[in-house]
Symmetry: C2
Amino acid sequence: MRVELIAVGDELLYGDIVNGNAAWLGRELADVGLPVAMSTVVGDTTKLIAEASRGALARGSGAVLFTGGIGPTQDDLTREGIAAAAGVALHRDPGLESALREAFGARIARGGPRVPEMNYRQADLPDGASPLPNPAGTAPGIVFEFGGAVSYLMPGVPHEMKAMFAQSVLPDLLARVGQPSVVVHRVLRTAGMWESAVAEALAGEVTRLAPVGNPTIAFLASGGQTRVRISARARDRASALALIEPVETAARAALGRALYGVDGASLESVVLDALRARGETLAVAESLTGGLLAARITDVPGASAAFRGGVVTYATDAKASLLGVPAGVLDAHGAVSAETAAAMASGARELLGASYGLALTGVAGPDEQEGKPVGTVYLGLADETGVTTRLVKLPGGREQIRTYAAVQALDLLRRKLDGRGGTPD
Amino acid sequence: MRVELIAVGDELLYGDIVNGNAAWLGRELADVGLPVAMSTVVGDTTKLIAEASRGALARGSGAVLFTGGIGPTQDDLTREGIAAAAGVALHRDPGLESALREAFGARIARGGPRVPEMNYRQADLPDGASPLPNPAGTAPGIVFEFGGAVSYLMPGVPHEMKAMFAQSVLPDLLARVGQPSVVVHRVLRTAGMWESAVAEALAGEVTRLAPVGNPTIAFLASGGQTRVRISARARDRASALALIEPVETAARAALGRALYGVDGASLESVVLDALRARGETLAVAESLTGGLLAARITDVPGASAAFRGGVVTYATDAKASLLGVPAGVLDAHGAVSAETAAAMASGARELLGASYGLALTGVAGPDEQEGKPVGTVYLGLADETGVTTRLVKLPGGREQIRTYAAVQALDLLRRKLDGRGGTPD
C-alpha cells in the first residue's frame, strides 16, 4: 500500500517550525513495513489542501495521513479541504458537539475562560467520515474513505498526533493491509563503544537471527553513545516480545559490558540508581567540561539522594587551592595529566565527603594546551581504596569533546559500580 | 511568483533525518517576500523526482528549489529526475569534469584515497542547464529553465545548501522577480524581559517605523531570551542598513537595558568580554542548576581568561562545609532563601579568589522544597562592596526552570557590569 503524508500549516512552509511530525511518522511507518512514498507540506487554505489530497490519490496512494489544521480557529481548514477533495459537505456531529460542550463546560466550571462558539467547528465531519478519539486534546481526528483510499486527519501538536496515531491510526492502517498490528521496540543502550564497533559486534550471530525484516535491528548513535533498537511486529505484545527475545539475548552477549541499560534508562540514571542501591555518594571535579558533567547528573530528578556536588576548577591554580592538587604535580605533569586527574578525583571526594570522586581534565580546544592535542582527556576515579585513571582521545570540535568526555567519565564510574572494578572490556 | 521546495532523499521519508533544509529555506524565502507555496519530500528514484518536478510545474510554480540527490553515488538521482521531467538527456560538462579532476587530484596528492570514476557523475548536466558553484563542497549545483519555470538543484548537506542558496540561488531568483537582491538582518538580543513585554515595548514607535513590510520585525523567543530581528531588502548592503537604522535606534531606546548585544553575541560572551575588559574574574556557586551555569560559561572558547571556576553544592550541608554558608542561616531561612544565596555568592568569591561571586539556589522540581513552590529561585551576586540578592519566579518544568535560572543569573551580572549597579529596569 502506497502511503503519503500531508502536513498542513503556514508555519511549516515559512520555517517557523520544522516538520518533525513527518520524520516521526516516517520512522514509525518504516518500522511496520509501510515506507512513506511522498511527504508534502501545504499552507492553510482549503484549495491547497484539497489539491494536495487529490494529488496523493491520483498518484495511487492507498492511505493519506494528514497532520495539522483540525483545531478550532479560522485557519484550521483541513476538514474543509478534505471535504472539497471528496466533493461532500461538512455536517456538525451531534455526539462530538455534546462531548465538546461537556469538556469545555468542565473547564469553565474550574474557572477557565468562556469558549468561543467557533470552537465547535471541531465537531464538524465530512459526510461519510468517522471521528477518531484524541487521547491528549480536544480536537477529534477523522478517518475518511473516499477516492479509493483512506485518509486520516490528525492534530499538528506532536504529542496529540503521536497518541492518536498509536491508538487509532496505526491499528486501523495495519488491519487494512492485513498486517500484525502490534509493534514492540526494545532499545539496548551502550556506552564506551563506537557505533561501528557496536555494529561489528552484532554482525554475526545477531544478524543471522534477524534476517527477514521481523524483528529488525537499527543502530542509533548520538552524543557519544550508541543505541541498538530491536523492533518486532506481531498479533500481540507477548508474541512480539517472543520474537525479540532470542535477538536480544544474543545482542546482550555480544555487547558485554558496553550495555548499560534498556529502553528509557539514561547513563546518568543508571549510575545514580546504582549509587543509591549501594548507599553510596558521588562528587565530581571538572576542568574541560566546566560543569557539564554535574549539570547532566543533576538533570535527573532526585539526583540529590546520591550526588553531593562538584567543583569546576577552570583556573589551574584553583586545582591546587580548592582540590589540593599538589603544585609539584601541576608543575611536573601539567594540568592535563593522569596525575592531576587522580589528585582532582581524590580532592573532590574528600572535599565533598563522597564515596566516589570523579574527575576530568583535558583539552576541549580550539587550541592545544601544554603541548597536548585537542581531544586529549584524562579521567580520574577515586574511592576509599585508591584512584584509577584513564586517558581517552576524543574526536570532533569543542562541544562534542566536552559531551563525549562527560559520557566517558560517567561510563568509567558505571563500570566500576557494576562490580567488576572499573576495567574496560 | 509561486515557489515550491522539493527535497530528495529516502532518509527524509523514513525519518532518519528531519527536513531542516525546508524550514531554513522557508524562513529565508519568506524574509524576501517569496513565501513557499508547497514543500514536498520524495524518495531516491528518477521517476518520483520527475513526477514531483512535473507536479510543481503543473501547479503553476515559477521557481522550484530542489535539495539533495546531486552527490556522486548511485542513489543521487536528482539530475536524472529533472532531465526526465524536461525530456532532455544528460551530458558530461567538460569544464566541470576538469574542475573535479583538479579538486580530487589535489586531495590524492595530500594522501587521500583514490576517487571512484562514479564521482564524475557530479559533472553531468541536463542539456540546456547551467552549473552553480558550490562554495562549500565538490558537487556543483544546477540552474535549469524549462516548462515555464526555473529549477535550482542544491546539495542536501545543510551548510553546502545554505552557502549555494546565499551566493547563487537567491540573487538569481530575486533578479528574476525584479526585487532588490540584498537582505540584511540585524538581531537585537534581550534578556530579562518576556517575549510579550518585548513585543509590547516595540508596539508604538517602532511598529510605526516599519509599517510596509520592509524592513520587517520578528520576535524570536527561546531559552529564556528574546531576539528582535529587523530585516531589510535593498539594492545593496548600505541601503539595507539605512532602512534598518531608524528602526534599530527606536528599538534600542524602547528595549533599554534589556538589550545586551547584537547579531551573533551571546549573553555568556557579553559577560565574559565585559569581565576581560575590566580585568575582573568570576566564580559561581550553584544548587538547582547543578553546574549548568558553569557549563554555559565554559562553552565559550577562551572563557578561562575571566572564569575562575565554580562549586556545585547540591547537598545542603556542602553549602556550609564548602562555601561557608553559616548553619544558622540554613536553619533559620532554609537552603532556598535570599540569605543562603548571598552567603553562597560570597563564599564562591572568596574560595576561588574572584572579583565576583554569582550564586543560585532554588526549586527546580518536580517537588516543592522547604514549602517553597517549584520555580522559586534566589540569585546572589557578591563583589568587594557586598552582596545583592534577587528573587525570581520561573515558569515551566525542571529543564526550563534550570535554563531560565542560569540566564537570569547571567543577566544579573551583565547588568551589574554595564556600570549601573545591577538594578533592574
